[in-house]
Amino acid sequence: MEDRRWKVLILVVALAGAGWIAVNRVPGPDVAGASAEGRLTGQPLPAAPAVGHPAPEIQLVDTAGERFELSALRGTPVVLNFWATWCPPCRAEMPELEAAHVSLADQVAVVGVNQGESQAEVAAFAQGIGVSFPLPLDERMDASRTYAVRSLPTTFFIDRSGIIRRIQVGPLTEATLAQSLRAIYP
């Protein structure tokens, strides 16, 4: 192709390219927590168990009989862990989660949603292993269904705005927990 034709082609692509980018610009300021999808469509991004989406609400009762609502933790980063006593990797990561709960008290909320077991089972396990963070009981698996949890353990890392920033399927080690926490804290 002649050089002149190349120059024209490059110019056309650059102009058309810039035009398409401008047409698809998202209006409004890039403010943290402000939904770009909301600015584009008028509808905010729906809650869903997926990265970038607001975390779906959970309303359960924990082992102490206290009501737990995920929305009450808005403004605090949350480590939302789904687990069960019969799951060996879940048990293996409990010390790491407890250590994070203790070292980051009042800065990061660690929550362990137990899947499908009774209050007595979970309370006995927690006492035996020395877990002190909240353990909401998902006895009917409603929260597990909402969060599409298909294997245990699964951990959702939720930022202060309630947006899911990272999902970890499989056990956490001290190092991978530290890595995942960077997505939501500080």
Binding site: D3, V13, R25, A36, A50, T173, A175
Partner: protein, 263 residues
């Protein structure tokens, strides 16, 4: 959506599975392309596998260095099978460096090697995009179009499918040009009408850039893969700028190399 493949008691995450398949397909297509370019396809496999191993080691070492206080108390985790205990960019840089070292040590022609890798990389990216579609990752923007898919109660562009089709289209054009060039070279024994070394790789880069520039407009910005950089800057979608930039760079390089071929 099929984020997890359940085979009896085994739950396999579809996205990582398709990423592995994408890597294998990329090497297989690259090896085939290498044979059409008349050099040993095993070099593509070797460069790819050495690069992969080097990349994995570097990614894990970087993770260990970055989170050393955690590994100091659990040193056996350095060799653990945790599939998330890696840092991406050190791994990518190391993989490219190791593959480049292999090409250099074997005195392989760089531009034809890049031409061989190009269609395979596009095929691999297409397969990975379909994996993202199955897993509901990197979702499209809301739409009422008839081919929209339902994701978390909202009908959305199947933008991952758009990506896959675009990448496969560019790969098909690359492979067709490769085969045409190989046939002409065999037919007349001369290189005059053959594929200029490096042109396929640049054409693949041009195609990749145009696909990304176009398709990103149909993705929900919040869930665009960013690898650490913001998805939007001043409302402008960053990936669109990256795609257009890559396309223009490739066009500039093709223009610089455009001249009649010699025997």
């Amino acid at each position: 959506m099929l984020p997890v493949l359940q085979i009896g008691p085994l739950a396999i995450q579809t996205y990582p599975l398709l990423v592995v398949l994408a890597g294998w397909a990329a090497l297989a297509v690259g090896a085939r392309a290498a044979r059409l370019l008349q050099f040993d396809g095993d070099h593509v496999y070797n460069a790819g596998l050495y690069g992969f191993v080097g990349g994995v080691i570097a990614a894990r070492l970087a993770h260990v260095v970055r989170f050393w206080p955690a590994y100091r108390s659990q040193p056996l985790e350095i060799f653990g099978f945790n599939t998330t205990a890696f840092l991406l960019w050190p791994g990518v840089v190391a993989a490219v460096a190791v593959a480049g070292w292999y090409i250099y040590r074997r005195r392989l022609p760089l531009r034809p090697m890049l031409d061989a890798f190009a269609p395979g990389l596009l095929v691999g990216l297409a397969i990975a995009a379909m994996g993202a579609l199955l897993a509901g990752r990197n979702a499209g923007a809301a739409t009422d179009l008839p081919w929209a898919i339902d994701l978390w109660g909202v009908r959305r562009h199947p933008v991952q499918a758009y990506e896959a089709l675009g990448f496969l289209g560019v790969a098909a054009v690359s492979c067709a040009a490769l085969r045409a060039g190989a046939r002409l070279k065999i037919a007349d024994g001369k290189s005059k009408m053959g594929v200029r070394p490096g042109a396929l790789a640049l054409t693949a880069l041009l195609g990749w850039g145009l696909v990304v520039w176009f398709v990103e407009a149909f993705r929900t910005p919040e869930v665009a893969p960013t690898f650490g950089w913001p998805a939007l800057l001043g409302g402008v979608r960053v990936w669109q700028v990256v795609g257009l930039g890559a396309a223009l760079v490739a066009m500039g390089a093709l223009r610089a190399r455009a001249r009649p071929m010699e025997d």
